[in-house]
Symmetry: C2
Subunit: 545 residues, 2 copies
């Protein structure tokens, strides 16, 4: 049996032993592995890494080849490392090692910059040393399973081993072993104190994450799309007018969904990759005074862009509209504040930054949206918020229908892990991993896609080099090395590929992903300086150490 | 820490170690355990077990106290054991042990009886010795994990141990360890050959189970209710007329769902517990020639009644209506034949007889229903069958939205286990467990609820004894002994309690459940002959051995 076929079988959760009677064949092996192809010798190049200085990276000029809706940002070119269009970078070392106090100061400075630029409530003033210590990986989790260290595996060179694929796609994200154990444990019955306790804990954690003190928070058994549908069904009646700024696949999903339920959709059509301009949204809203709701996408996963939801929500509320935000792939990875930003509905999912399995979508609902739900005339049953709320208010909270109990058990464990380090540490980790990916990719001479790169901490969209399809890169890195990236969607198909770096992802996960990208590009005859991407990522991590 | 609280924490998947920072309190301990109460000495009484004769049990006279919609069946009083209204039973032993050939003959006779009475295609003519050997428990599964036997646990008397609750409720059902391992394994990415293989396998297995050769089979991330909603959304337009025979909670859910989507609902109101009369349905359909669809519930879980879907489907089709059947809690536990019975839509769920976790609903769709879906005007998006079908037809089948991958991995393993023994063995097992529960309960002098008891193999509804609320029995057996039964719903609340005996349930699971019931009734001051229920169940199992 070929290794690839065995690996696939392993991924399918099939038993390792011989087949029993009647076992169906697993699908064709569509591996693109090049049989007998040459195995390039892997050597890590010496990159321009200079000590562990607290270097900040703010760069955007790699976006020079910015057709297809990409626009340059004029701000954000700051900090102490510049990356030019060739992907080379020049670090200004400030010393061999800073004292802890100095690093703390640097973090505080950076926090102030963030604060003044974005006015979001992160990092909170009282974050502590634990943030700095745990942001790189997930060391705090070692408390949970008692792992002091893991034994190093023998170096097996380029010989593939049978192991699960390495997911660096923008969701679902890798699942921590503690979460796997929880979702693989005997089920808690869904009516009674056990499940009630789970629901209470999960809801309380999500409330903290949403920064929503009074909002109703409901847990639905569905993909994120189901959560979005629940918002359309519960907040609106046929014919209601909604405004949808379009700048990517997931914004367009909002529009298709609203249209399916017979709402009147007013689109603002921007090119994919645009970071929306609140002033343009305000102007558009002023032209249509009847708009009842604005449908926003926080993390536009198709382009990597984090939209400025705080400002978009402000202009929407000023126009008298409810604000509904898809935070499926953003909540827990980038700052968000339901109450402070004046959000009415925010829909999240279990399988993104929170590192649980897909299957549960959650919805935070403001008083205003709850009021709207009482009179909304869209037909609904499975996603009827009133039913969910009625069951959530039982002494032992329940779902009205049989929920995805095992996914809930996993989500409970995932939130427990997330809050061991805390929100601040998690956000800082996402910021840092994002920087490392972007610097690494630039060091290979590739161009990034999408505006607002400094803020795009969830997924990085990368233009394929001239003459190579992005889909080929995705196929090849997966079949050769078992790394799952995401191809481009819609107009970006074949043009960009995407690396997800949220959820249960560590520094070394990024490093190995970049190494895999280096090797894959070389195999596709794209000139690569071996180790360059890895070196650039190391630099980001080392300066933050 | 009290044992109950520890057990609850265990069920929540919480870590065993000390709390980390910020851990939320798990819900209140609402255990009804009587502190310091007397511990009755448990002694197994000697029941009227007489050898291992091939005794058949067909009895209905225990239904004498049949208020609340219960009606007596005049047929079915056959076989060699009679159970009278007092719950006492009289066995006619036919010998110490029969030869295998004789037993085989008995099975064949029984099969013929079934065939002539129900005309369903089960057992198939070619079922073999393996059916007989594996029907009691799940011994075939031992091939999968290599369990030769399990070490006996020390007898700890009545001292409770920290362990998951024993679920004998009608779904979700207990999950086999192989399924837990599969759903606790690293996730397969949902786009690509790995997940495509999972979908192909699962769909093929379900096709066999549905007995549906050409039907489209779609897999939705939702509870069973979501699958039902998908049928209403995709088959109908507002104002369409549907017919719903009402005889329990789940039939009424169909009606509420249809009403929520603005269909015109023609109900046939029967008392809860009724086994529907196809002639009455035919008469009602004749009065409303505009009816486009008939909404049926195969296993009416609220009453335990298996409805005669084959005959109901026939009269419905003769009236020109589409036939939609909720088979959520019946598929895999009782005979079903999509093609042969002329079904148009059958909606199942992962968490019932198939023993996987809740979170996936599946839908089988006839050509006629598929045609209706092309023109149906009900608004839909998340559950739009056309989208699901488009993705199911990809070379590597996918879901349009991110599916509940871990639940799918578990469902894959669950179907693998199910088909190790095969459909015939599984159906025979459900029949036998059902008999054992019913005989055991009658031996305690309790009355059964609902018509058609011989066919009701999924759940048994039991009238609470005079002066004791059924809810009290459910509360007490759960808090004292960790056994989860289900209370009565709607008009049966407080009057009946329900024991589920489908899915991953063995003979000894039934035995311990009945023993727990004996102990609980005694603690509630209901006179019980200790061991009587267990003895009656043993008799059913021994005669079948």
């Amino acid at each position: 049996m070929r290794a690839a076929a065995r690996a696939e079988e392993h991924r399918n959760g099939a038993p390792a032993g011989p087949d029993a009677d009647g076992r169906l064949p697993l699908g064709d092996d569509r591996s693109h592995r090049k049989q007998g192809g040459q195995r390039p010798h892997l050597s890590i190049g010496r990159g321009p890494v200079e000590g562990g200085a607290a270097v900040e990276v703010h760069a955007n000029v790699g976006d020079r080849d910015a057709g297809g809706g990409d626009r340059r940002r004029q701000d954000g070119v700051a900090g102490r490392v510049r990356v030019d269009g060739t992907g080379r970078h020049h670090a200004h070392a400030e010393g061999e090692r800073q004292h802890d106090a100095q690093r703390q100061q640097a973090l505080s400075d950076q926090a102030s910059e963030q604060e003044s630029e974005h006015r979001h409530p992160w990092p909170s003033p009282d974050y502590t040393e634990v943030v700095r210590r745990t942001v790189a990986g997930w060391p705090a989790r070692n408390r949970l399973l008692g792992w002091a260290s893991r034994a190093a595996r023998p170096d097996r060179g380029v010989i593939p081993v049978d192991r699960p694929e390495i997911i660096l796609a923008p969701g679902p994200t890798p699942i921590p072993p503690e979460v796997l154990l929880a979702q693989g444990s005997p089920l808690v019955y869904h009516r009674g104190p056990g499940f009630g306790g789970l629901m209470r804990d999960v809801t309380a954690r999500l409330r903290t994450l949403y920064r929503a003190e009074r909002a109703r928070i409901l847990l639905l058994t569905a993909s994120g799309t189901g959560g979005l549908e629940s918002a359309i069904q519960n907040c609106f009646s046929p014919g209601d007018e909604v405004f949808v700024p379009l700048a990517g696949f997931f914004a367009e999903r909002w529009a298709r969904l609203a249209d399916a339920f017979r709402l009147t959709v007013h689109p603002l059509e921007e090119e994919w990759g645009t970071r929306l301009d609140p002033d343009r949204v305000a102007d558009a809203l002023a032209r249509d005074p009847g708009i009842k709701g604005v449908l926003l996408t926080h993390s536009e996963t198709s382009t990597g862009v984090i939209q400025p939801v705080r400002e978009l929500a402000r202009v929407s509320r000023e126009a008298g509209a409810m604000v509904l935000v898809d935070v499926v792939s953003s909540l827990g990875a980038v700052p968000f504040a339901f109450d402070e930003w004046g959000i009415d509905v925010a829909i999240g999912g279990s399988q993104k930054a929170l590192s649980a399995s897909p299957g549960i979508s959650f919805v935070a609902i403001s008083d205003r949206a709850w009021g709207a739900a009482q009179g909304a005339e869209n037909p609904r049953f499975y996603f009827d918020w009133r039913e969910y709320q009625r069951f959530a208010e039982l002494p032992d909270p329940e779902n009205p229908w049989t929920p995805a109990i095992s996914v809930m058990q996993g989500l409970h464990a995932a939130l427990e892990l997330y809050f061991q380090d805390g929100v601040d540490a998690a956000l800082l980790r996402h910021q840092r991993l994002s920087r490392a990916v972007k610097e690494g990719v630039r060091a290979l001479g590739l161009d990034l896609f999408g505006e607002g790169l400094d803020d795009n901490w969830t997924v990085t969209a990368i233009r394929a080099p001239e003459g190579i399809s992005a889909d080929t890169i995705c196929d090849r890195i997966r079949s050769d090395l078992g790394v799952v990236l995401a191809p481009g969607q819609g107009p970006l198909k074949g043009k960009v590929f995407r690396i997800g770096h949220f959820g249960y992802v560590s520094e070394l996960d990024i490093i190995r992903g970049l190494a895999a990208l280096e090797m894959t590009l070389e195999r596709l005859d794209h000139p690569v300086k071996r180790g360059a991407a890895v070196a650039a990522a190391e630099q980001v991590f080392q300066e933050a150490h």
